[in-house]
Amino acid sequence: MKLRLIEKSDLDLFVQNLINDYQVDGVKRKEGSFLYGSIKSPEELCLDFDCTVIPPKKYFLPPEETLFQFTSSPALQVTPVMESNPFILFGVHPYDIKAINQMDRIFARGVPDPHYLKRREAALIIGVDPTKVAPRSFWADMGAATVSEGFDLMLTDIGESFIVEIGSNKGRSLLEQHAKPRPATRNEARERVGIRSRISHICKKRGFAFPKREIPTLLEHSWKKFFWEEQASKCLSCGTCNLVCPTCYCFDVQDNIDLDLVHGERVRRWDGCLLHDFAKVATGENFRETRASRYRHRFYRKGLYLFRLLDDMACVGCGRCASACLPDIADPVNLFNKLREDEK
């Protein structure tokens, strides 16, 4: 693997050059938290964040997106809406890249979803290794401390400079045309290994008290436990754990119509399996009526159902659900550890 290096003092120039040529989005500070947003000048870009409130999935599966516009008279007409404006997403942590890779598989498998895939294709992803670990993160234990694909460039802060790994040809030309990289020396490359292992080590302070590969089997034995009821009694059914999750992608579809009752659009919006009406059909039957059944479903989906489909759990250890859940019952680390404890 050939690694490049750019001096920190040159980073601003790199970012500015990108801004000149592209729409650039990246992490910004807001009220002590971190959010992805449009970057208009290099000073706005934050690379030493621990974790953002909402994951970068919003760029590929926006909270609300138009699928098509329609006209209902004089003749019925529909026009598909697909966004594919090229943009750069600057500063994505490996665990979020892992989540995007998983989402790519979901939206490409079977009948592909062009609305997602077009947005995804239009994005250049510049990853960055974390320098801080959010209090509830456990990505190291989820095998998401590093990724080998899913980025065009991957930056690692090694003090005075950034090591840059090239992940694609697009990434290579982006780097060459907009920055002044030089090849990294063997020592510098070694430094990246050390830094990665140090941060990973910090992250490993939180994690499962047993090998995570045992989670699917653990779930297979846990369906009937009272544990779910007990935990879910505190669940607000607010869907926050779903909405902040980088691997949750469920959506609802609705029509919006103008007051002329002729023009309108069909949109999809984020939905969440914790919400009361998620599995309710028009006849009134609700296939997951109780809090406990919805709460349990989320963990089975993460740890078992999607594992069966993808051979990988649908959790990357970002810890967003854990830190956002007010009654604090959404943390996969606490939950699976308790479940395992219960089993003994």
Binding site: L76, D104, A108, L117, Y249, F251, V253, R266, K280
Partner: protein
């Protein structure tokens, strides 16, 4: 990553024109439709479409006609929500949106040369009718055909004209029952499982196809098993909330299965041990 034809959104409907409307019961109507493009819908019995009215929305509706009925298809629709209410107020000549057909189908090929036991509860008859009509159109390709139909009360019985015909036919056995009797009803009264004692099946060569409300499955499956019908020859169709029809939106998920793609028709052996399925 696959390279899909990115211009073709799977969410875009095709247009269909309503060619005939028939009131089936107080709350159900039958809509005969034809795709405006002239192409056939191309479904197999057991599949469904996503039906839409612009500005109202979309809903999954099972196809009630046999695939062999030329270029038209039929949807029998109960008025329950906004979409179905809007469809009920439409008239012949109106255009609606259609996506699909989606999902798995009944064992139309696999059951050829075998006996068939159809068990329909209430509006479960709607998707089952597609297969029944196909079988009756290809009568010599199948063995014994038995149809058990149960409704809550006489006024909820659909396709009355067809039921009469089925009853008259010599080459099939048709039995029905209502949970609660009503004016003019002289037939059986009792839940659908009471009909099982009235039939004899050659269990090893019988395929049992069950469609009905969620509560019905457990009891009917017990009866089918008691008759000795092998588990893998029992098929059923499950209802769930479905928004996308292509296994993405997550609403219809049961375990690792998406009812819209891996179902709605399932072989009993594929789901009997899945929590939340039955």
């Amino acid at each position: 990553m696959n390279q899909p034809m990115l211009e073709d959104s799977p969410y875009l409907p095709k247009w269909a024109e309503i060619t005939r409307i028939e009131q089936l019961t107080e709350s159900e109507k039958l809509f005969e439709m034809r795709l405006v493009s002239g192409e056939p819908l191309g479904h197999t019995s057991g599949q469904f479409v996503e039906l839409s009215v612009m500005g109202i929305g979309e809903a999954p509706i099972s196809i009630s006609s046999a695939p062999t009925e030329n270029d038209v298809f039929e949807l029998a629709i109960r008025k329950v929500g906004n979409l179905t209410t809007a469809i009920h107020s439409s008239v012949t000549g109106d255009r609606v949106g259609i996506r699909g057909p989606f999902g798995t189908h009944f064992p139309v090929e696999e059951a050829k040369g075998k006996d068939l036991l159809f068990v329909a509860g209430g509006i479960g008859l709607i998707p089952l009718r597609s297969f029944i009509r196909f079988v009756l159109d290809h009568r010599d390709e199948y063995g014994e055909v038995m149809i058990l139909f149960g409704a809550r009360n006489p006024s909820e019985r659909l396709f009355l004209h067809e039921l009469e015909q089925w009853e008259k036919r010599e080459d099939i056995i048709y039995l029905d029952s209502v949970d609660k009797s009503g004016p003019g009803w002289k037939g059986n009264v009792g839940v659908i499982t009471t009909l099982f004692s009235k039939i004899h099946v050659d269990s090893s060569r019988t395929y049992c196809i069950v469609v009905g409300p969620p509560v019905m499955y457990r009891f009917v499956i017990l009866e089918a098993k008691a008759k000795g019908i092998p588990d893998r020859q029992i098929f059923l169709s499950l209802e769930r909330k479905m928004k996308c029809g292509i296994g993405k939106c997550g609403h219809c998920q049961i375990n690792h299965l998406y009812v819209c793609q891996d179902g709605p028709v399932f072989r009993y052996t594929d789901i009997f041990d899945l929590e939340e399925a039955l």
